[in-house]
Every structure is written in C-alpha cells, then in structure tokens.
C-alpha cells in the first residue's frame, strides 16, 4: 500500500534492535485519514470472506480495526490486556509473550462477544514474532470460531510470525512488508 509505505519512509524511525517507531501516525499519534485508507484496503481484500466480526488487541490495533469495521459495517472487539493472570469465568483468555518487553500478559475477550458461528478477521498494527496474533487465534480456537483472515498494517517479514501463520494455513494480508531494517534503513519486500 503506497501511502502507508510513504508514511513509513517519511515519518518512521528505525532504532537499534530492529525496532521501527511509527509513533507519529499509528502507535501514539494516529493519522485517521491514513487509517481509513488502511481500513478500505482490508475491506477490499477480505470482502468475499464472509467475515462477521473483527477482533484486535488494545491499544494500537484499535484505530485500523475500527476503520476496517466502519468500511465493512461490522462490529469490532478489542481484546483487553491484563497484567494479573487470574482467569475469570466470563472471558476467553490467552497468554501473550512480548519479546520487546520480555513479559507475559493475558489478553481476554468476554464470552458474549464471540461465538462459534463467527468468521473472524484479526487486525493488528504489527506482525513480528506473531505472539499477539497467536493469542487471538488461541481465543478463536477456544470458541471454535473460524479465523477467516488476518490483516496486518506493518509486517516485519524477517521475523518468524508471518511465515508461521502462512505455514499454518492462515490467510494473511499485510499492507506493508518490511524485508530489512539493517543499517537503520527500511527496505520493503516488493
């Protein structure tokens, strides 16, 4: 997606440790017009998939997910994060390990918002190791809901998440795919 790649090149910052900061349009400041374009791209790609519900994880997934929901006219559920790992009865929960922070969080969705007939589109801002996405898949599996598609704003293709998802048969659409962040330079996969 050209506008997105341009925003990454113009406004992103590469930090040591393969970190791409896109705080100025996605993770802290949000560019709503760009997020709407992101939503249109996902809506267009997944329009024939019979999606019934969009899910994401708080916080940075919310903007692209609600814009996708707006275009597709679908409800969006954002999984909440919980530091304490006490599982409640009324939620589906999964553990998510963060490589960046080296901590394990619980994410959860209230049972009333997901059911076995749902065809779910998972949206997230970043895909690197895929831990958050796997957590959402885990929740869908508990519900026996179908994971019909996965929409990622920025994929770090050099990290294992994207390959893992594809090898396991998931339909992944990433709007920007980054091949390398070596030498503080963003290189896209064509």
């Amino acid at each position: 997606m050209q506008e997105l790649e341009k925003a990454i090149l113009d406004k992103g910052t590469v930090l040591p440790g393969n970190i791409l900061k896109v705080n100025s349009f996605l993770n802290h400041q949000v560019d709503p017009a760009l997020m709407y374009q992101v939503g249109k791209e996902f809506a267009d790609y997944f329009k024939e998939f019979g999606i019934t519900k969009i899910i994401t994880v708080e916080t940075s997934g919310i903007a692209p997910a609600v814009m996708t929901g707006l275009v597709m006219n679908l409800p969006v559920v954002f999984a909440k994060k919980n530091k304490s790992l006490t599982v409640q009865d009324n939620v589906y929960a999964a553990e998510v390990y963060s490589y960046t922070k080296q901590t394990t969080n619980q994410i959860y969705i209230e049972k009333q918002f997901l059911n076995s007939t749902d065809k779910v589109l998972i949206i997230d801002d970043f895909l690197a190791n895929g831990e958050a996405t796997k957590g959402l898949i885990n929740i869908c599996n508990q519900v026996k809901a179908s994971v019909s598609g996965i929409g990622i704003v920025i994929e770090k293709s050099f990290q294992p998440g994207a390959d893992w998802l594809k090898e396991h048969g998931y339909q992944v659409k990433s709007l920007a795919r980054i091949k390398s962040l070596a030498n503080n330079k963003v290189e896209f996969k064509d």
Copy 2:
C-alpha cells in the same frame, strides 16, 4: 444524541455503584458506525473552534477520537498509561487517579506531538469525576496549548466532573448526559 441514547438504553447495563457498562458498543466491542456518528456530532459542534489537534487517553477514547479526527481531518494523539511513575525527559506527563480502581496512573504524551500553538479538542468516552480529562488538561497546560473544547461520549452528570469543567470555563459537549442510574435505571438529563 438520539442513536447514542438508544444504544445506552438497549445495550447498556447498570451495575451497583453507579456503573454503566457499555461494553457492547464502546468499551470492549465497538460499533464503528455509531462511533462515526459520534465523530460527526463532535465535528459539527466544534467546527468553528479552530481545532488543530485531538487528544484522548487509551483505550476506550481511541475509537470516538479517531472517528472525530477522520471527519475533522485532524491528527489524534492518544495519551498512554503507565503504571510506573518514572517520568521520562521526552514526555509531558500527569497523574490520574481512578476512583473505580483506586489507583493512580501516569498518563503521558511525547513532547513532539503537542505544542504551544495547538488548539486542542479533548475527547473521552466517559466523564464522571473528570480525573482523566483533568490529566489531559494538565498536560496541555504544561505545553501552554489551548484546551479549545472537550467532547464526551457519555457524561454522568450526577458526578462532579462536568460541573467542575464548566465552572472552570471549559467548553464541554457531552452527547449523552445521564442524570441518574438509581434503581438500575438510566435516566437522561433532557
């Protein structure tokens, strides 16, 4: 706002302790079409205020704020929450007390995303005691940015936040104003 009041009556749940749960369209599951209507209402009300930036607090403020930003064609910054109260150099921070959770969190915005020439519209999902809103005002005051307006999705008018803001000269627009949640019943202020 009629659609919003209808959603509150049809889908909201009143819990003991004056708690209104609107998890099915605002705080956990989000109704993007309704949030877009919310954004249009705010955009219409604040259109002559010369707003340059919209700010909110993660997590539940993000959906209404980005929809407002979409309609007004303005950037949105969501303040992040931090459990640890270590202040970093590159951020403006404020402490926010949560009456519900009885904890104090720090919220912060990176300095690069707010400056003294900004005319800020603060958006939040709920206004009760007004602690989160006061935290955002505190941050704007540190930057010497103007707080040009405050847009609230659901105001609990029987709690002190709304009156405090108005008494201090802030321009507050609340789309649903709740007079009482007594006897588990939602009563709107006309």
